[in-house]
């Protein structure tokens, strides 16, 4: 299969859907002439024109709110919010309007709105351009949340989102944009929401890794294999809905589990997953559920500081060793 980057895969998904469905269009800050600050929509303005690739003012509330209004009136907008940190500028529209439109209307409103947003730390971008905001929105019923970790999933999940009837927050990790991988060329290739991918099989412990942490978890798993520890790496692919059965099945097999994410540890996605496992799989567990996550401080600027705060491969390895010993070494923060 041909290989393309995560970024190209997203562009391909948008372009294919825009060719097949006149209701789909893209708007956001610098998505047109600039081609997206991460280059994701490069060339789309030339193909689709200014009507369907719309550069907006720096007005996140208007971008999301207008996306909602257009979605309620029969369009299928893709709106781009440049950084997950800026989602808060559109907080009311996302949380109070978009998420609740269907429910508050008694189910009448279809909201086929995709909010594409970059997430995670790209390196020395500091506290307002590095956050992983996924779990902020997991607490809001009405939103679906996708966290693709491979080029194929980026394409397939985005196409599912663009063909669906519910609002989707689509988190694209900045450090994955250049990642290359095989992506089907079939126009109807989609990846369903709520189906986790088992990235690597293993019997000794389960690593549930989210978004940008999936490649790091896989690297760590290879090192563990050299020590004779076989880790199963599971990528949930969507956090809402979450494929709980696949997680339970793996934990039932391994009896040891860690959740790895770049979001802060406190109330991050791992907190929810750990709670579900504690509720539903405690009888299988041979060790405490561990979380490997960003520490509970804002993401700092200086590389050495940033490295201290963000979860690293060695943190995954250390957690794996703890799990195998069945002892929890208290982690600060």
């Amino acid at each position: 299969m041909r290989e393309i980057t995560y970024s190209e895969a997203i562009r391909e998904a948008m372009s294919e859907e825009m060719r097949r469905d006149p209701r789909v269009f893209l708007m956001g800050e610098d998505v047109g002439v600039f081609g997206g600050v991460w280059g994701v929509s490069a060339g789309m303005l030339q193909e689709f024109g200014e009507e369907r690739v719309r550069d907006t003012a720096i007005s996140e509330t208007a971008i999301v709110g207008m996306g909602l209004g257009a979605a309620l009136c029969g369009m299928r907008p893709i709106v781009e919010i440049m950084f997950a940190d800026f989602l808060m500028c559109a907080g009311d529209q996302i949380v109070n309007q978009v998420a609740k439109a269907r429910y508050m209307s008694g189910g009448k409103a279809d909201v086929p709105l995709v909010i594409r947003v970059t997430t995670g730390a790209p390196g020395s971008a500091a506290a307002q351009h590095s956050q992983s905001a996924e779990s902020w929105f997991m607490n809001v019923p009405g939103l679906k949340i996708a966290v693709p970790a491979t080029p194929a999933d980026a394409k397939g999940l985005l196409k599912t989102a663009l063909r669906g009837r519910d609002p989707v927050l689509f988190f694209e990790h900045k450090m994955l944009y250049a990642l290359r991988g095989p992506v089907p060329e079939d126009e109807n290739f989609t990846v369903p929401f709520g189906e986790a991918a088992i990235r690597r099989s293993g019997d000794d412990l389960t690593i549930i890794a989210i978004g940008g942490m999936v490649p790091k978890a896989l690297q760590a798993a290879e090192k563990l294999a050299q020590e004779g520890i076989q880790a199963e790496v599971i990528d949930p692919r969507t956090l809402v809905p979450l494929d709980v059965p696949t997680l339970l099945e793996s934990v039932a097999k391994t009896g040891r589990v860690m959740i790895v994410h770049e979001a802060h540890r406190r109330s991050g996605p791992g907190a929810e997953i750990a709670a579900i496992l504690a509720e539903q799989a405690v009888e299988y567990l041979d060790a405490p559920i561990l979380r490997v996550a960003a520490k509970n401080v804002p993401i700092p600027y200086s590389p050495s500081l940033e490295q201290t705060v963000l979860p690293q491969e060695e943190d995954i390895l250390r957690a794996a060793h703890e799990l195998m010993r069945g002892v929890k070494v208290a982690e600060p923060l």
Binding site: A57, A62, G65, G69, A70, C73, Q93, Y103, S105, K108
Partner: protein, 334 residues
């Protein structure tokens, strides 16, 4: 004397419809308040008594396939756009046949078939949504218009400014309709806003700002008709500031410490409904018995609406768990 031209230039059917809808809104609100006190309605009521002319003048100037977004004080807008009293009353009562199956209540009533994209519990929340509807119409080449109702309070929300600016850039067919009732909840406008006329803000975005007497239904109708024509012709947005007044509290039970009874009495003299009624009679366009007949029909309609709401079934409690998403996952509601 009203500044608008003689009413005789309007079809009598339109004038009677203005009267009918304004009266229906007034009586609906009074009945809703009564039923709130009697216990049929569990939630808050933010009545629009005194602001009927803005709702009716604006909505009658739109086409049936035009859309509106409304506010927390939205009953009038919904009725003016064609919302049916019985389903509204049932929704206020939290009953199954209500507009939103009892899930929304007063602040969230919508009817997409009537172009009502929703009342809104968030001040200013509907404004970008209306702009987005206008964007959809423009992209599809439809000659439809979106109108966002909002208050003087919402004019200080970022949502208004962002939507106004972006709509101007794209020349969207949207009307920003500000009902300036002089108070954002309990704070007088002069204490929250340093300018006298909110319409002046349109200059900052590059489209016309119009001031209209919000208690004159025909003046409102004219202003919105012109704005809608402008929008349909691709000339972009208009900001209309309708000066009006709510004659009751922000919510039922509001102690209204922020204004004087004298001020309220003064505005009662400008109540849009008696004023319009007097004008219809003065210009001899209808006779009193016709208006009495309309009034009687409305009272009967509201008796029926209240009875409908009272007799309507309660939602099944497990229904609370459905309708968050279009689908379910692994057999579960999520």
């Amino acid at each position: 004397m009203d500044a608008t031209k003689s009413l005789s230039s309007y079809p009598t059917s339109l004038l009677l419809e203005m009267f009918r809808r304004m009266t229906l809104i007034r009586e609906f609100e009074l009945r809703a308040i009564e039923e709130r006190h009697r216990g049929l309605i569990p939630g808050f009521i933010h009545s629009c008594v005194g602001q009927e002319a803005t709702a009716v003048g604006a909505c009658l100037a739109l086409n049936p396939d035009d859309v509106i977004t409304s506010t927390h004080r939205g009953h009038g807008h919904l009725i003016a756009k064609g919302g049916e009293a019985r389903y509204m009353m049932a929704e206020l009562a939290g009953r199954q046949p209500g507009y939103c199956l009892g899930r929304g209540g007063s602040l969230h009533i919508s009817d997409f078939n009537l172009g009502i994209l929703g009342a809104n519990g968030i001040v200013g929340g509907g404004i970008p949504i209306a702009a987005g509807a206008a964007l959809a119409f423009k992209m599809r080449g439809e000659r439809r218009v979106a109108l966002a109702f909002f208050g003087d309070g919402a004019a200080n929300e970022g949502a208004f400014h962002e939507a106004a600016n972006q709509s101007a850039v794209w020349k969207l067919p949207v009307i920003f309709f500000c009902e300036n009732n002089l108070y954002g909840e309990g704070t007088a406008m002069h204490r929250s806003t340093a300018i006298q006329n909110l319409a002046d803000r349109a200059v900052a975005y590059g489209f016309p700002g119009v001031i209209v007497d919000g208690n004159d239904v025909v003046a409102v109708y004219e202003a919105v008709r012109q704005a809608a024509e402008r929008a349909r012709n691709g000339e972009g947005p208009t900001l209309i500031e309708a000066k009006t007044y709510r004659l009751r509290g922000h919510y039922e039970g509001d102690p209204q410490v922020y204004r004087t009874p004298q001020e309220v009495e003064e505005w009662k003299r400008r109540d849009p409904i008696p004023r319009f009624r007097a004008r219809l009679l003065q210009e001899q366009l209808v006779d009193e018995s016709t208006l009495e007949e309309i009034q009687g029909e409305i009272m009967a309609q509201l008796d029926e609406a209240v009875l409908f709401a009272k007799q309507a079934s309660q939602p099944q409690s497990e229904d609370a768990l459905y309708g968050v998403y279009a689908d379910i996952h692994n057999g579960l509601v999520f």
